[in-house]
Symmetry: D2
Subunit: 145 residues, 4 copies
């Protein structure tokens, strides 16, 4: 992948527009929704690597369960704002995968929120499993060194 | 069940308190959340009949898929309001079950919303199935005639 | 607008991709989320008419409160499905506005859900108000006759 | 407050039952919902101190905006589980308030999730403000020393 060949980490960008349902009575986005957007970014990241989270679940019987989440809120997103979710892979070793996120406002690139999620690869029984080799290889190729 | 013996329909009452996450920037509850509360009422209704939706799914392999929803919003619920969800069974025939709901504010019994949901009993393959006899009997006993 | 000039009603199309957060343990989309997608369609419809729901709230101090919702679920949407929300205006008279929706799967145009929402124009005090003339005109122009 | 007089920190307990809407297709609770439960715990904590978040917003014009969230997921919550949210105040200085949470399964006290939230007191303009004295005093009284 050229991004890693040039030494630049691979960053996937996804866009969402803030829905009315995502606001709260403070007039801004309710904070838990950023975690949903992290997931939107994560799924797109995986798709852009040529993989597909849906078939990881259906065909390989694995899931990527969240075990750790953190987020820092810098500035509130508001209704109808268009947002860019920047997602990058931070670590992938054995059964553990870690992603990092930045959510910026599309209009002026203002940073609204950043965060990380740590995941453990699990089988349908919710027990830990190694990430299958075919996925591990692609993750390794875009890992921020 | 005494309620039906006396000719009065069985109405299950559940309580919820409005969460901050459930409000929107209009300062009231976002309308889709009432459907979640209908479900809270429906589950409690089933539990009060001595059944358990969780084991209906796990042990009997059936689900109660929603096929039709309607709701009329009379007055907005607000953050931190305590609400009473009144649930009753309206119909149960073959694979079809219908519930009715009234959501009232606990403080003054003001009616905020009323609605209905129609369900079809399905197997794990999402295909229509008859409601197992043991459930059908209990539903029949509390049906509003 | 050419659509009405030719006698065809104006239908706005919006796209969403099903998020993991929107699924439930039945393995399909939780039914209340369709109401959120109706709202996504409604906002886009208004934007395509050259109006902006955000400024309707901020500049004109009006909101479009939901007073009635109905939905029929035909076939379940699943995780990662791309969906098209088709929105049309069904009525707009005085303080009342009514929209109709069809949600179809992008891949094969299969109809998953259809529904209607009825709204009342309200001021910041949640009291009924007439729809300002500038909006009423544009709505009238695309009304299905 | 006797809890602090005896040197034991004040811990508020709230109960929730997992809703169907809160599960995802992995068959467990979607991780973002724990943040909503943290908020349920936080509001109850404040209520048990004899304060009321609703009137903090309405009468004092202040909000408690979330600026930092972290959560560790130990074991999945499942549909219909009854959960206990244990909330304690970890810090309260100037405009900053920090809460800690443990979410345990009521049936067997199994720890499912723990986390922290950091908040900044803001006015209606979303600008930082000192916590009014009357609230600061009560928070100080139950602070874990």
């Amino acid at each position: 992948m050229s991004e890693t060949a040039t030494g630049k980490p691979f960053v996937s960008e996804s866009r969402v527009r803030v829905r009315y349902a995502e606001t709260d009575q403070m007039g801004v986005v309710y904070h838990a929704n950023y975690l949903v957007w992290f997931e939107v970014g994560r799924v797109e990241f995986i798709r852009k690597l040529g993989m597909d989270y849906r078939s990881m679940e259906h065909e390989d019987g694995i899931g990527i369960a969240v075990v750790d989440v953190s987020a820092r809120y810098k500035y509130p997103a508001r209704y109808d704002d268009e947002l860019v979710i920047e997602t990058r892979l931070v670590a992938a070793r054995g059964a553990v995968v870690k992603f990092g996120y930045r959510i910026v406002r599309a209009a002026d690139h203002m940073l609204l929120c950043e965060g990380e999620t740590v995941h453990v690869v699990v089988g349908k029984d919710m027990k830990k499993r190694l990430l299958p080799e075919k996925y591990a290889k692609r993750f390794a190729a875009v890992l921020i060194s």
